[in-house]
């Protein structure tokens, strides 16, 4: 094996910069210099060994995106430190419920906060790490909580919800009326539903006068009929735009939404009847090269 080594010239030790092996004291049998640099004819200077040159600060400098990579390494290291964390078992059930859904800052805000331009895939990766940290047993260790705080998103709405426990926007007004808007095709209806004895007025006119077709009248009555509250509520609606069917269905939607403000439990019944969903169908636009939205011109062979 020694002959193999000699043949291959593997006994030399190597340098990369211009300094020679003068500083080393190790004797070698055969000095074969195998390196990528070409031999420089210039004489070697002693001073170059002591030269202290500038080095990149970050460990991840050569990844091209060192701040982002350093951040991932930091979060990973934090996770590794607390991988065996056992939180206290006596955390309240309410606390657990509140913290199961983590709202992290969205991509733009997070880029702003970190001062790193983030792509969506990079943001997702960071969120993955944050989720794994946040899913440690509660209560979270102090360094982890401190590290996660700047990433959390605090919505105004969320704060209000947390305080009240219910959405504050939909309540009855001082006179006990529920207000809702319904739309269909080009019609929009503003509806006020209040406890009463079953009167329906549309644009100041009774329903029998306004809607000639029974179909339209049934549509308007549908939410109250389905929930069997026909004689318990009065409806006052102001509707404009569109045609009779559109207006009728707009009123239906508005009344349905207003009823929900009165009583949340009616939701499944109304949804099944189709009074909650806003019908998104509108007139399709006409396209060039065709006679109408879908109809094409008569096909001519030649």
């Amino acid at each position: 094996m020694s002959s193999f080594l000699l043949r291959r010239g593997l006994v030399a030790s190597l340098h990369v910069t211009n300094t020679t092996a003068k500083i080393l004291t190790r004797p070698t049998a055969i000095q074969t210099i195998r390196c990528a640099t070409t031999q420089s004819a210039a004489p070697v200077q002693e001073n170059s060994l002591y030269e202290v040159r500038e080095k990149p600060q970050s460990l991840s400098y050569f990844t091209g995106n060192y701040k982002y990579n350093d951040l991932l390494i930091e979060l990973d290291a934090l996770h590794k430190t607390f991988i065996d964390w056992q939180g206290n078992e006596n955390s309240d059930a309410i606390e657990v419920q509140q913290t199961t859904s983590n709202a992290w800052k969205l991509r733009d805000k997070m880029s702003q906060m970190l001062e790193i331009p983030l792509k969506t895939s990079q943001w997702r990766k960071i969120v993955l790490h944050l989720n794994s940290l946040a899913s440690l047993p509660k209560p979270l260790p102090v360094p982890v909580e401190a590290a996660l705080r700047p990433y959390r998103r605090y919505d105004q709405q969320q704060q209000q919800q947390g305080a009240n426990g219910a959405s504050p926007s939909k309540t009855l007004d001082a006179l006990g009326r529920a207000y809702a808007v319904g739309r269909r095709k080009e019609s929009s209806a503003r509806c006020w539903v209040v406890e009463g004895d079953g009167k329906v007025l549309i644009n100041g006119v009774s329903m029998q006068e306004y809607f000639q077709r029974p179909v339209d009248r049934d549509q308007v009555q549908l939410p109250l009929e389905v929930t069997e509250l026909k004689d318990q509520y009065n409806v006052w609606a102001l509707v404009n735009g569109g045609g009779s069917t559109g207006q009728a269905e707009a009123i239906k939607l508005g009344v349905g939404r207003a009823l929900l403000t009165h009583n949340e439990e009616l939701k499944p019944i109304l949804r099944k009847a189709g009074c909650i969903t806003r019908d998104p169908r509108v007139v399709e636009r006409k396209k060039e090269g065709q006679r109408k939205a879908r109809a094409r011109y008569t096909w001519v062979k030649r």
Binding site: L14, V16, T17, C35, L59, F62, N65
Partner: protein
């Protein structure tokens, strides 16, 4: 596992067997006769009992798993106490399938078994020591050492190796143009000079690259060659070792093996960096002394 069958019949262990062997099947290579041949069966029937002498004495409660305690309590991984036994334990002798081999690796192959080539660990040791010397000398002269390991399992060990010796790492994708287009790739996120905002930011190049998977990093290798940067790489039996400056013929698939190689090289580099610090301190002291005399 095929490797266990291979281990039983390959190179008998010439070096001493260190205690950080984690698979109990390697007891077959111990120079000491295994006790199960001599002692009666009922005494040491369970493997747990036979391994008792390997477990360090636990006067305090063990906070880490036993295998880790054994590995860390045994000799540390440094370039000065490498042996063929430790390389074998890490699985560095297992090459790739003989049908996929690179003929230029012939000098490093001990033989073939079960359809794979077995790397001669005597050569591995020699080349590993050479690579350690290179790393040490580069660090001694204040060079930047870059560890590149882009396989999914290599990320942690690459970062650890870089951190240990104050080097640098690329553990996710190597961006093409890192060296040849440094102005755009590396200068993009660099902070501009406060005095002269218009000036192009300064970019740096490494002085040594340690490639842990050269097969997937052809671009990195090509860039290093264009910039005359020497490359240390772990070359398996399906990779031409003449393509890199300092090949280390070893298995590049086993995470434990690559971890061993990375640790050894980074320890050597750390040693070189330490010696450099001592040298600079000595020079600094001398300079202050001469100034004080005057």
């Amino acid at each position: 596992m095929a490797s266990r069958a291979i281990l039983k019949s390959v190179v008998p262990c010439t070096g001493r067997v260190s205690h950080n062997i984690q698979k109990s099947s390697l007891r077959a290579f111990s120079t000491v006769k295994p006790s199960r041949q001599q002692a009666p069966v009922n005494e040491q029937s369970t493997p747990a009992e036979a391994l008792k002498d390997l477990v360090p004495p636990s006067n305090a409660s063990l906070k880490k798993p036993i295998w880790r305690a054994v590995a860390e309590a045994a000799e540390p991984i440094t370039p000065y106490n490498m042996s063929i036994g430790r390389l074998l334990a890490a699985g560095l002798h297992l090459g790739h399938s003989t049908s996929l081999w690179e003929p230029a690796t012939l000098p490093f192959i001990f033989g073939t078994r079960e359809g794979i080539s077995i790397i001669n660990l005597e050569h591995t040791l020699v080349y590993l020591r050479r690579a350690c010397n290179v790393a040490r000398e580069v660090a001694y002269r204040g060079g930047n050492i870059l560890f590149v390991g882009t396989r999914p399992g290599f990320q942690d060990l690459t970062v650890d190796a870089a951190r240990r010796c104050e080097g640098y790492h690329v553990s996710t994708k190597w961006i093409p143009g890192t060296l040849t287009n440094a102005h755009q790739v590396l200068g993009r996120h660099a902070t501009p000079d406060p005095n002269d905002p218009g000036k192009a930011p300064q970019t740096f190049k490494p002085d040594l690259i340690v490639l842990l998977n050269p097969l997937e990093n052809n671009i990195a290798l090509a860039e290093a060659q264009l910039n005359t940067i020497p490359v240390i790489a772990i070359t398996d039996t399906d990779y031409d070792p003449r393509r890199v400056t300092y090949p280390i013929p070893a298995n590049d698939d086993s995470i434990r093996g690559v971890e061993l190689v990375a640790k050894v090289i980074s320890t050597a580099a750390k040693d070189g960096a330490l010696r450099r610090k001592q040298l600079l301190d000595k020079k600094d002291k001398e300079a202050r002394f001469t100034r004080g005399e005057r």
